[in-house]
């Protein structure tokens, strides 16, 4: 495009030979202006210590969602610690794979960070072909998980998981469960449960978003779901939904009376969504050490943890090494579930 512009210019210049002097002055001014603007684009910072300019934190989900809000909480504190703005860049789409692919291809200079999570880096690669591998990322640590729980409507006839299972076995095909789509944690969670309970026949009704499936649950149009706590917290507090079991290691702090799936005899049903920060592979050691230091402080900061809890996360801290190990185990788990339930998108 620049070439075409300059060609056009010189064409004019040739044709207006009479105004020769006039035109060439204009030409010089134009060059100066373009050059000046390009310099404007350049950062002032020389090679002083990292960071010298704003950092981009890519969130592979849309601006309205809980992941994005959690990201902004992290970005706020991180920014204070590093002394430069940490700008959240939402690059949503394709189950998080668009944002992930973007980061995987970015420069590993430490100025591009990524919310490495169980969606874009766990579930999605298990059900469709993507343009990146988890090995393309250097993991810095984990800050939170979201837990899943089995909910039914408050006035449903099943007061416990067992009653539900008995009913389901007696009436195959009558019960329906809701999720926010194929290949989501909610979907995976229920499929895990169905196979753990030896083949329950409960039909899957996908919805497009959280509000829709919550409304469907509350309205009695579907019977149950294994859903994110953050989405169901409101109605549960209001007494409209009842939690039958949680898909976690231990009982939840907020709901100490509710058993886990393991306690009820389904130890395989343990699923969380996890969230951490990563960067493209190859960040120089001094920079990655600095980042890790700031990130660990952020993840452990009491204010940050409080705000994360408010929007429904459970703050869980794993440092870089622990996170890496955890992720490789989770990867295998997701692959297994996808294969056994035959979930594949393309």
């Amino acid at each position: 495009m620049v070439k075409k512009h300059k060609q056009y210019l010189s064409f004019q210049w040739c044709n207006k030979r009479k105004e020769g002097l006039y035109m060439s002055k204009k030409f010089i001014i134009l060059i100066l202006i373009i050059g000046g603007l390009m310099c404007l684009d350049k950062a002032i910072g020389k090679e002083s210590s990292f960071p010298t300019k704003p950092i981009e934190l890519v969130c592979p989900y849309g601006a309205g969602g809980s992941t994005s809000m959690g990201t902004r909480i992290i970005a706020g504190t991180l920014s204070e610690l590093l002394g430069v703005p940490v700008i959240v860049n939402n690059k949503p789409g394709a189950g998080g794979s668009i944002g992930a692919a973007y980061v995987a291809k970015s420069k590993s200079d430490g100025y591009t960070l990524f919310v490495f999570n169980s969606g874009s880096n766990g579930v999605t690669p298990a059900i469709r072909s993507v343009e990146y591998k988890n090995a393309d990322f250097e993991l810095f640590g984990q800050y939170a998980i979201q837990t899943l729980a089995m909910v039914v409507k408050n006035d449903a006839p099943w007061k416990s998981l067992e009653e539900l299972v008995i009913y389901a076995k007696k009436n195959p095909g009558t019960l329906k469960y809701a999720t926010s789509g194929i290949g989501t944690s909610a979907h995976f969670g229920m499929e895990l449960f169905k196979s753990a309970a030896e083949g329950l026949k409960i039909d899957h009704v996908p919805f497009k978003s959280g509000p829709e499936y919550i409304a469907a649950l509350l309205g009695g149009h579907v019977h149950m779901g294994i859903l994110f706590l953050v989405d169901i917290k409101g109605p549960v507090e209001a007494g409209k939904l009842r939690i039958l079991a949680t898909a976690t290691e231990k009982r939840l702090e907020d709901y100490p009376d509710i058993p886990t799936f393991s306690e009820l005899g389904y130890p395989e049903v343990k699923l969380t969504a996890w969230y951490g920060i990563a960067a493209p592979n190859g960040v120089p050691k001094e920079i990655s050490d600095k980042l890790k230091d700031a990130l660990y402080k952020t993840f452990r900061h009491p204010e940050v943890k409080k705000m994360l809890i408010h929007i429904g996360y459970v703050p869980v801290f794993r440092d870089a090494e622990q996170f890496k190990k955890f992720v490789s185990e989770e990867e295998k788990k997701f692959q297994k579930i996808a294969k056994e339930a035959n979930i594949r998108v393309d």
Binding site: G64, N90, K91, K208, A215
Partner: protein, 503 residues
Amino acid sequence: MDIFSHLIYGFQVVLEPINFLYCFVGVFIGTLIGVLPGIGPVGAMSILLPSTFGVSPVTGVIMLAGIYYGAMYGGSTTSILVNIPGEAASVVTCLDGYQMARQGRAGPALGISAMGSFIGGTFSIIALMFLVYPLAEIALKFGPPEYFSLMCLGMTIVAYLVKGSLIKAVIMAIIGLTLGCIGTDLISGKLRFVFGVSQLSDGINIVPLAMGLFGISEVLTNIEKPLKRMIYETKIRHILPNLEDWKKSLGPIARGSIIGFFLGILPGGGSILSSFVSYSTEKRISKHPEEFGRGAIEGVAGPETANNAATGGAFVPLLALGIPPNVIMALLLGALLIHGVAPGPMLIIKHPDVFWGTIASMYVGNAMLLLLNLPLIGIWVKLLKVPYRILFPLILLFTLIGAYSINNSTFDIFLMIFFGIVGYLLRKFEYEEAPLLLAFILGPMLEQAFRQSLIMSNGKLSIFFVRPISLGALILSIALFISTGITVFRKARKEVIKYGQKT
């Protein structure tokens, strides 16, 4: 009355200096965002979210809510001035609002739009106050079968959107439905018509589609002829609507308020659907339906009122059940949660200042918006006098930025340009874009609801007829369909007779 004392308390909350300030900032930014095409309230709200961390929850919510309805107010401005929908809900305003502008009546269009928005917004707040809880219960009764039938009803509206040939409108609708199929199929998870382009796997975004079809094609149509001949503004007749305009608009505004409020309650429905329904209702009821699409002020008054009334309706499920009916409300919910305030039935008891403060801030916000927008009309109208050769590069630039900012991706810009070319060609061959857009919006919801219902009923189609709300909506759709069919049939017969007489 108890409610009024609560309301007075709410006003006291709002009128505290910091809340008042934040309210103003919110509506101001909201208007700005609404006017600029493509950039929606979600982006701004999420960026400004951190700045609410340091203040009390009431203050934060007041500002964010202000952004929301500020955007609804501002969205109609570009629709009227340059035929670019400021956001999806203002698409319908383009149909008649822009025509009014071309006839020199941009002022009245903007004026009626602002007043209608104010009345619609205020009405919905009042209705919200009294009806929050009972309405929420009713809204829950809408499950997939009800949505399907509602969407069927919505599709019959297509016939009322066009001023020209009906068969061409149907073709446009079919294409719109097909475009809606591109992306990930919700029920099976499979990718449809994506051709390996990952940016398409979530479907075509409505913003580049609308901006391209309406805005870019409009610009292209205008510049194809030598610009000296562009008679954009002959004479500005009035700056404000006159008595005649008011008389015509009263009915549409009243109906639009009701339509908008109730449709806004349904999750997923919202302001877009309400503006379309209002438009077609007015056209159906009108004694001069042929004026629609050519500058009928009812076609601006109704939809603009409806989409603002829908914002009030959207608060119903949020405040009553803790369920946000759309992305914007979800953000508000998040903001509340971050501050430790859980919406739902407990809200009014545990945090009355938040509840009533928010409601009172809606009144204040609406009033502020009216005061802000009315004087702006004079400025906008003057803006139209700027020669087109200077204006159109700016228009294009803003749409480019708007398109980019949706996903921070240039792909959306390409999409918008593509649809701009398509829209331009369609206009050349006299196909109208509105039915395409409506079908594009409703199509996926229709198909989704249909298949979800069948899963619920294990394949039995009877589910649509057994449930009363669904049955009602279906009967209405069939009735409308037949009535439109009769009109078409009569017209076609006349044409055939004419043809026979000629040969």
